[in-house]
């Protein structure tokens, strides 16, 4: 399964607008995307299509995330999410 570790650039972390865009982007792909803090075990990952789950991770700016995707467009989904997380909030 393709996966990646990405640093969360938006200062606010994965809250409010960045979280909202993250969930929106994850939902655009057929791949099942799950996410958790860097080093999280598979069982501790949560669904990237749930705003509640994503916000509930309480990820701050500068922290790293582990993102796993499964499905035909998994790599494309990871690319899009990585780009999003690498963009400072004021440019989102």
């Amino acid at each position: 399964m393709p996966e990646r570790v990405v640093e969360v650039v938006p200062e606010e972390g994965l809250h409010a607008r960045p979280a909202s865009l993250f969930v929106e982007t994850a939902n655009e792909y057929d791949a099942e995307v799950s996410v958790g803090p860097e080093g999280a075990a598979d069982d501790d990952l949560v669904s990237a299509s749930s705003m509640l789950a994503v916000t509930g991770l309480g990820v701050a700016g500068g922290e790293k995330l582990r993102i796993v995707a499964e499905g035909a467009d998994a790599v494309a989904a990871l690319d899009a999410l990585e780009e999003l997380l690498s963009t400072p909030e004021d440019e989102l």
């Binding site: 809250h15 909202s20 669904s47 705003m51 509640l52 789950a53």
Partner: protein, 562 residues
């Protein structure tokens, strides 16, 4: 029975009279029926219908808020839609319905579980708990329809009372029908307060539990100027309140009753605000913030782009003056193309004039060139250039050198540039103390009371816990203002004020008495301040200022004010 006065935090300088209507979105749900009486399929369908309807409402409110208030405030509704349609919510509700709960109870329980989880976390996460409560209440209103007050269909002249009002609640309020609102909780920077200001609704927030003593149907006055809720008001109070709502727009300049001219200008932060400022009768712009040109973009605006904007501003006030503040950014505002330092305390760091004379020197020069060219190419109006966050004579002298060089450069290029009026903001204790040294270098001072109060009192703006300290009615703030006007006395330097304090009609007499000759404020309060100016007698105002300057406490100052 005599009237009762409850005090809270004033939010808009507007007054309204109406009939109290309590809005209680979290009212108790009906008794839970026995599981056997619950038709699971019907309840699930009811939930799904309510969810669709809630989503449609949110989309509509998002549009309306983007139009009326702005994109930033509207973005909160996107998060609401995502919570609403979250798979964890859908699953939780479906499971509980399956266990025999009606839809409303299933929604309440599911959301409350997440609300608790989020509320237990820090800072930003706790704000998400508010968002979740907001979405929950919306669903519950739709599921238990008719049992709650519908904010979008209130009778004319309602005064809404509530524990708190969420962005969704305020977005539904129709300013044409609502005479005002008051809430138990909330501060000057709460969502409700921001909405009230942008929609010009009289409002008082943070009244505390005393507000619950007001019953549905009682007549109340919301006095947004004093921050009071007057219950069961006397005829005189009602008459005064009704008058207060009707300040007429005066295009002409105003003077005090004894003939001292006071310039009443508007603060403007975007070109879109220029037209409304002129429509509200502003004599000019007392503070043209230029940050909008520089924020939310990848490169600095070039001279030509800035030129067009400044030209338009000057032309909007052909008879007036436009005071442009040079770029005022620091570590608290992200500007991607500037190398802004990561500072422990950006409000005491490299910002304002400090950057313009340091790392942003090129930007400063370009801005001055654009300003002077715009001024040279307009036959009408007049330009004044104002420096932010000045603390020393050296800063003024250094900026003056740049200004003079720009004038010469432009002339050598064949442009008939003239030296504009040149002044500084007085927004630090240092500037107030040194004003008597500054006078020989400038044409004017403009007192920025929001920052001045914050820096004089060491009390952060927007922090409710220290709101009383950061109040510009603190005697220390008045004395800093007095130091500034006294320094300018007997010189050609005029002293104005931009900032919230200038827009409060209850303070106009005091400010005139302190010696200010220009007041600049949000366009919404221009008519009320113009009206107030025309009633003032300068001798009485001076006497009031003397008493206020002798006051030992904020309470003593407040007692002196109308």
């Amino acid at each position: 029975m005599s009237e009762r006065r409850l005090s809270g935090v004033d939010v808009t300088p507007l007054t309204g009279v109406g009939t109290a209507v309590w809005y209680r979105p979290d009212a108790d749900l009906p008794e839970r029926p026995a599981p056997a009486e619950v038709d699971g399929e019907a309840e699930l369908a009811a939930f799904e219908d309510a969810r669709d309807e809630a989503e449609a409402e949110l989309d509509a409110e998002r549009e309306r808020t983007a139009e009326r208030v702005g994109e930033d405030e509207a973005a909160v509704f996107d998060a609401h839609v995502q919570f609403l349609t979250d798979p964890q919510i859908a699953d939780g509700v479906a499971e509980r319905i399956d266990d025999g709960l009606p839809a409303a109870h299933a929604v309440a329980e599911t959301f409350d579980e997440f609300v608790e989880r989020f509320a237990a976390m820090d800072g930003k996460m706790a704000e998400r708990a508010d968002d979740l409560r907001d979405v929950r209440d919306r669903l519950l209103r739709l599921l238990t329809d008719g049992e709650r007050v519908d904010l979008s269909a209130l009778p004319d002249g309602s005064v809404v009372l509530a524990e708190r009002l969420t962005p969704s609640d305020t977005a539904q309020l129709d300013p044409e029908r609502v005479a005002g609102f008051a809430t138990v909780t909330g501060g000057r920077t709460s969502h409700a307060a921001i909405f009230a200001r942008s929609l010009a609704i009289p409002a008082v927030v943070g009244v505390g539990d005393a507000l619950t003593s007001v019953a549905d149907g009682e007549t109340v006055v919301i006095d947004g100027t004093t921050g009071e809720v007057v219950v069961d008001p006397s005829d005189d109070t009602v008459a005064a309140a009704s008058e207060g709502t009707e300040a007429r727009v005066r295009e002409e300049r105003v003077e005090t009753a004894d003939g001292r001219e006071i310039e009443v200008a508007a603060n403007v932060g975007t070109p879109a605000e220029l037209g409304p400022a002129a429509d509200r009768g502003a004599d000019g712009i007392g503070l043209f913030r230029t940050e909008f040109l520089f924020l939310d973009r990848d490169d600095a605006p070039d001279e030509a782009e800035q030129y067009e904007t400044y030209k338009r501003a000057i032309e909007t006030f052909p008879e007036g003056r436009v005071v442009v503040r040079t770029l005022d950014v620091g570590g608290d505002k992200p500007v991607p193309y500037l190398d802004l330092p990561d500072e422990e305390n950006p409000f005491l760091g490299e910002r304002g004039i400090r950057r313009s004379l340091g790392p942003d020197a090129d930007l400063f020069e370009t801005q001055l060139r654009a300003l002077l060219r715009a001024d040279a190419d307009t036959d009408v109006g007049s330009l004044a250039v104002m420096l932010p966050l000045v603390t020393t004579v050296e800063e003024i002298a250094a900026a003056e050198t740049v200004l003079d060089r720009v004038v010469e450069d432009l002339r050598s290029e064949g442009i008939e540039a003239e030296r504009p009026e040149f002044g500084v903001m007085i927004e630090t204790p240092a500037a107030a103390f040194m004003a008597d040294e500054f006078v020989s270098h400038v044409d004017f001072f403009s007192i920025g009371t929001n920052d001045l109060a914050q820096y004089v009192m060491a009390a952060e703006r927007g922090n409710d816990a220290v709101a009383d300290l950061g109040d510009f009615r603190q005697p220390a703030v008045l004395r800093a203002i007095d130091a500034t006007t006294t320094a300018a006395e007997g010189t050609d330097v005029w002293v104005g004020m931009c900032g919230e304090m200038a827009g409060d009609p209850a303070l106009t007499e005091l400010l005139v008495g302190l010696g200010l000759t220009e007041l600049s404020m949000s366009a919404v309060t221009v008519p009320a301040v113009k009206e107030r100016v025309s009633e003032i007698d300068t001798a009485a105002a001076t006497a009031l200022a003397e008493r206020a300057l002798a006051a030992a406490s904020r309470d003593e100052v407040i007692d002196l004010l109308p």
